[in-house]
Symmetry: C2
Subunit: 492 residues, 2 copies
């Protein structure tokens, strides 16, 4: 399913009159829907975006879902400074090499030219490691389990809403442990949290696994990721969890006296998920009519559209009463009383991806019912419309919302399964990679040279790795002995 290359962001938010069909051009559809649905605007500073209230509503609920799970796994939130002195940033050699080309530098404060440049954090291992070195003395001070909600900045050349912007919002977990085994467990636990949120909250199925050495986080000993598949056959990395070994502990001096009185370096980890996850769910769930938002994250769960031709006090009054009832029940619902045709409103809320639409007209009212329309179904599809007694709406809505959520996830799982393609010989493998056919699954040698060769030929590389299932002996890409299974794909 080849698509034109991604376009760069324009300089000003374009005025979108029509959203082009998603099935024709994912990239054009994606940019158009992000603006038209008022998720984002372009900011008057290159490569930065404004997260508008409707987009922020998605982020707020994603935050809440993650934060709840972080706390349930023993983590606390804290906040560390935005600015990192250059001399501190450069202390972990691999880390600085990875990030320095993307750093924005503060060189003046007020009227003063600074003696040392200050980096705007591209990530916070450095500043947090420095503080952990101050806080940790004894094994009794470990583990430290901290998460930070923050903005970070990476000076990227090409940008797109949610997927890549100079500044973005994310969370970054940073932990320190007395043993390597504990750090490994932590990293695995948080990868599971990410997969849980991606699948059960955002409805986006993912593959979990370890990244290859070429794709590892700068300064990590192991990087794990969750990877989702977009409709154009590109993969999207939606969360990462890193074992940092003792690299940062040595660079920043996180030492502790162990139970046996010896002085040891701590084992640290970090893990992050950003608003990129919102980009993933937009692409995965959307259709030609616009967004289809997963109910657990949707800012609005349902919209009530009164169907009135001319003045109809009864319908208006009933719609308002229903709205008040649902609000009181804690549902996120909106009553659309705009002076527009019902057809206009239907299309507008479909474009904005609201999971359920509640239609209430004179005939419904006479029959004591409403019509509920599910956004996850095609128009005219069985089950797309249900007639529900007015008195039952509050009870039925949560069930229907759950059903929409399951159905969006099931559709996305089917797509992923249909586009996960084992390849058994080299030419077939390279062709599938070039064609963006999906997640191309092969026994692999785990050699950087092999990955680089595949990338040069196809623009695809490994997404993540998992153990061999037995039986495979040779790397499909190069013929050397296989040591893992790997998903290859082009990526965002």
């Amino acid at each position: 399913m080849p698509q034109p290359e991604t376009l760069d962001q324009p300089e000003k938010t374009p005025l979108v009159k029509e959203v082009p069909p998603k099935s024709k051009d994912l990239s054009a559809w994606y940019n158009a829907i992000c603006y038209k649905a008022e998720l984002v605007s372009l900011a008057p500073v290159r490569g930065c975006m404004v997260l508008r209230p409707y987009g922020y509503g998605l982020w707020e609920r994603l935050q809440a879902a993650l934060d709840e799970r972080f706390k349930a796994t023993g983590h606390e939130n804290a906040y560390f400074p935005l600015l990192i002195p250059e001399s501190l940033l450069t202390r972990e050699a691999e880390h600085v090499e990875g990030f320095a080309p993307e750093v924005a530098w503060v060189t003046q404060g007020g009227n003063e030219v600074l003696a040392e440049r200050l980096a705007i954090r591209p990530t916070s291992e450095v500043i947090i490691g420095t503080m952990y070195a101050e806080w940790v003395h004894s094994y009794r001070d470990l583990p430290i389990l901290i998460n930070q909600w923050a903005n970070v900045m990476r000076w990227e050349k090409r940008t797109r809403p949610f997927l890549r912007s100079l500044e973005f919002l994310w969370q970054e977990g940073h932990t320190a442990h007395a043993t390597e085994a504990e750090a490994s467990e932590e990293v695995a636990r948080m990868l599971e949290v990410y997969a849980d949120v991606a699948e059960n909250v955002a409805g986006v199925p993912v593959y979990k696994g370890e990244k290859s050495s070429s794709e590892r986080f700068a300064g990590a000993t192991h990087t794990y990721s969750i990877e989702a598949l977009m409709p154009d056959g590109r993969a999207l990395q939606a969360g990462t969890s890193h074992e940092l070994g003792q690299n940062f502990a040595k660079a920043y001096g996180i030492e502790f006296s162990a139970e046996d009185q010896t002085l040891q370096y701590a084992w640290t980890t970090s893990w992050g998920m950003s608003w990129r996850m919102i980009g993933a769910l937009i692409m995965v769930h959307g259709d030609d009519r616009g967004l289809r938002l997963p109910p657990k994250l949707a800012p609005l769960e349902a919209v009530i559209v009164p169907i009135v031709k001319g003045p109809s006090e009864d319908v208006t009054a009933a719609a308002r009463e229903l709205y008040a009832t649902l609000k009181r029940a804690g549902l996120r619902v909106k009553l659309d009383e705009r002076d527009e045709r019902p057809g206009f409103k239907f299309a507008d809320w479909e474009m904005r991806g609201v999971p359920l639409r509640i239609e209430l007209g004179a005939n419904d009212l006479a029959a004591g019912t409403v019509t509920i329309v599910r956004r996850d179904r095609e128009r005219g599809e069985e089950g797309a419309k249900t007639s529900v007694p007015l008195a039952d709406v509050g009870k039925v809505l949560p069930e229907l919302l759950a059903a929409v959520g399951h159905s969006l996830f099931a559709q996305a799982k089917d797509f992923l399964a249909a586009h996960t393609l084992p390849a058994t010989e080299r030419e077939q493998f390279l062709r599938l990679c070039r064609d963006r056919a999906g997640m191309i699954d092969i026994p692999w040698c785990n050699r950087p040279e092999c990955e680089a060769a595949v990338k040069a030929e196809t623009r695809a590389n490994t997404r993540n790795l998992r153990p061999l299932e037995g039986g495979e002996t040779l790397c499909v890409a190069c013929g050397e002995p296989a040591v893992v299974r790997a998903y290859f794909a082009q990526s965002y």
Copy 2:
């Protein structure tokens, strides 16, 4: 109650062994308790602080209290970029004059030297006004009611934990309205929200009023504030709400076609509260033993201390069961099983300001009771200790927490009332100002020259103003006709 001048922050978090008595030296006590209770650490970048988990817990609950009220008054959250191009910042003349000396500038991105400097936001009127100009076309697009949770940066010379730091966390509300009357209402409404949170959540009584013209926000037509009184007789501004008139709308082009088809400029407002509020509640409530946290914000509402001499399986088991029961009931509670003397633990949790301590020893257990100790009372004071049947703890705790909250607020209100001092003649007024006797309340002429003269003589200036109550005719400070009543004080 004169105190030595505030000390500047040291460069590294000092190791605090003993917290000096608050009653002797507020400034030394304040810094010491902020570090000792692990609310903050100093960061390895000048004038910045790390908000540690115990401090962040206070901030998280303050955020929740504000956010809930913002939403209940119709506001939505959004997020705008950190960086503001210099050419944009300089468009509102008064605004840039007020903020330029405090701006941190980004001049390099990656390896590229930027053609135009980018300011790290000291506040976001400029970038948000620019976006509102893009979003607003018709009166139907108004009002826009948006809040942002963000970090901001002001390049200050002298810094102190929570009260003044280069970077700080805050919220900033930004609204646009079709009429001046609506904008005025909004500003008054949000001032009420701040006063409600300060008094009923943080337990800090405040005076509401308008700031004098010298103290107005740069670019505003009216600034209102809530002002609290610290134990050293200095006032602390804890939240501000600004009417911006059409100043920003004109500078950034926020125009709309009104119902009568004319093209008009919008009326905008902004309002903010920061983590400074935490500094206020620390100073207002703390005592010689350390913090006393208002229960609604306290990260821990109660701590359980088992009193065991040698091994006591019964007491340990009962304490753990109580802990589990209270946790399940949704209380924020901790069980302290450290291998330390009970006396050490008592002092430690008192220093950290936990509102209630639950002691459980062998005698208690035999009697089927626990001893609950309130942090708001003096040791030995009536009602400081209560014996409660084990089975009733879950029911009694919320009542006791409410009682502690009311009592902290009542104590603070008494202090404020006792230190709100009307002055009737000039020399007395100037002496009270110089002595930091509290909020010095006079009929005032509302002239900048008069305020400047008082400040030069006493270091005090106006905190906020309110209408004359009738009868007063002359300004106590200068003898000109009085037009308002004003609180004067030295301030943080």
